[in-house]
Symmetry: C2
Subunit: 401 residues, 2 copies
Amino acid sequence: MPAPTDPRTGLPVVAMVGGGQLARMTHQAAIALGQSLRVLATDPAESAALVAADVRLGDHRDLDALRAVADGATVLTFDHEHVPSEHLRTLTVEGVRVAPGPDALLHAQDKLVLRHALDAAGEPQPAWAEVHTVHEATVFAEEVGWPVVVKAPRGGYDGRGVFVVSGPDQVAELLERHRVLLVEERVPLVRELAVLVARSPFGQVAVWPVVETVQRDGINTEVLAPAPDLDEETALAAQELAVRVADRVGVVGVMAVELFGTADGVLVNELAMRPHNSGHWTIEGARTSQFEQHLRAVLDYPLGSTAMTAPAVVTANVLGGAASAEDWAGPGVDERVHHLMAHWPDVKLHWYGKGQRPGRKLGHVTALGEDLAEVRARAVAAARYLADGEVDPAFAFPEEH
Amino acid sequence: MPAPTDPRTGLPVVAMVGGGQLARMTHQAAIALGQSLRVLATDPAESAALVAADVRLGDHRDLDALRAVADGATVLTFDHEHVPSEHLRTLTVEGVRVAPGPDALLHAQDKLVLRHALDAAGEPQPAWAEVHTVHEATVFAEEVGWPVVVKAPRGGYDGRGVFVVSGPDQVAELLERHRVLLVEERVPLVRELAVLVARSPFGQVAVWPVVETVQRDGINTEVLAPAPDLDEETALAAQELAVRVADRVGVVGVMAVELFGTADGVLVNELAMRPHNSGHWTIEGARTSQFEQHLRAVLDYPLGSTAMTAPAVVTANVLGGAASAEDWAGPGVDERVHHLMAHWPDVKLHWYGKGQRPGRKLGHVTALGEDLAEVRARAVAAARYLADGEVDPAFAFPEEH
């Protein structure tokens, strides 16, 4: 049976589970390709639901809601990895094209599945153990040395579900909450890197330059493209690693490979199988954005060029400040956007339309240029101003002398 | 009274009259700014109506439809110039912010109004006459020499309503259809140029580099940015002219100044007060696209940088071929998009989602690079392939040897 298309345009219909900013920005990319993204949102005020023409309301854990959004769509894909595998298997059996497929997606849903797969493939990763008892954890920790990093295999993101643990008592506590744990050595981390790769059902693969991701409290705050001072050999090795892993797990769509950069090379931290925060820089900074590429990949279109459009590109996330929207006494978002535009006429804004909440990703800004340090300073100052109205002293407004 | 904003986001709501590709691409730009464009479309299958979340159906000549789409919007703007002035005046009196305002818009709606205004301002334009009788036309034509160019003052676009006339009889025919005519000398045209300018209510102005526009049968087929072999002095003069005209007519938003390039300099042909075909290259080719800039301008946000992102940028329009969709026996649009992507991984596609019809603007492609001739060949070949499946011999697929 040929895949369904939109009878009005003769072009594919991509349905995306999840109505967050990733779906929002994917819709933007879909528009250029003659498409309109169909979105499954849980709330009409979600980021993508505010801007997409075809929004279905429903829960991503509800099989019938998934069936409804997939009905008549060319392919079903994701803005997050929280859809139950069994539902995706059912949909696949029912003839729905799901990309990435449930078997691939499992490597992004379950950290233990990933660790086992990477070991089998001989890919570099931290020393790790699957742990069901305090004793197993202690044996491992005494081998690699306390403290160790304990992770819930499922459900964590943005640093949630990750704990640095100094002794058996804490392991016991965590085992009470989670039947099984992933325990890892604490990697002598120099910095974090990420490689974004796209893979189509045909098997075509495209990889963007390696980036450095800067975290604060486990949440990504800045992405530096390309990763500064990364030797060519390590960069190429990281890209090749990402391509091998993409093939190995059989991902279809965009996949982010998050890496620990150490003095001796890179180790795989985890995977995300969707457009990813570490790839927002590609909207202006690469010939093909991760959002367009994700659509191309899941539709088995030929992939686009991943060449950079400028020597240095930095994305800075705008995180909600300490005050909630109700308590916020500073300038409103519209006023802050005015000032941003006045001060940085060449910084690109991406605002997600979400309510302000401490630590929430509200938007991002991207700056481009020749010199990474200058570009980074510009992006960070702009994002910081947008987040809470504070101005970096290095970028003070002229009238504030 | 403060201008309304979207209570869900705290950000402005721009309402656009017209649901064509300009509204479609403006919605894309609005998404990045945290907004969602509200669109007044006449048909749910219109280009922008397929992708926007907030679509109102109604006729742009119906005052109540205009009132409804403007209700609760921060500002009302346009994807075309066909809205009756009297309606816009009524809305203005009723407190609706209309940008551009009715007085400014008149210069894009009525070619005679523009000619009078440019004469009063002493700006360069072709010799012209307002003609109510055959005698008046003959007097003018004998002064400047037959043939002359006769234009219907209102309603024409894409070359419609423009006639090259060799004698009084044809003038008589046209006068039967139009009460009044604009008659112009036939300019010794070297090429056509365009300058895109944006102006905010505050009076801030931003201008992009001068481009060359290539026409076929009165329809724009290619835009070359920057205009090749244009000396700096003429380029600057054309930009200054555009800024003066923007100020003079008091436009708010993006305005395209279409120019005749002659051996002696430039003459103003006509104005468009909205994002314009001659500015599609700015999506990838300038730091701020015309669509984002239009939103910034009508909202009185500070304007963005108009710097180019590459030395040479070319947009080629995809026009519907001779066959209508029903008669078309070649590859379908989805197949053509596949081939485009396979062959030109770095050419950017913008497909409008419209039905195929001879001469209709179905989409455009943009190529960027160092060398304008190479970039132009790439863009034209890609557009030609998309339009009708024909491949430029210079860009034949490898398997066709």
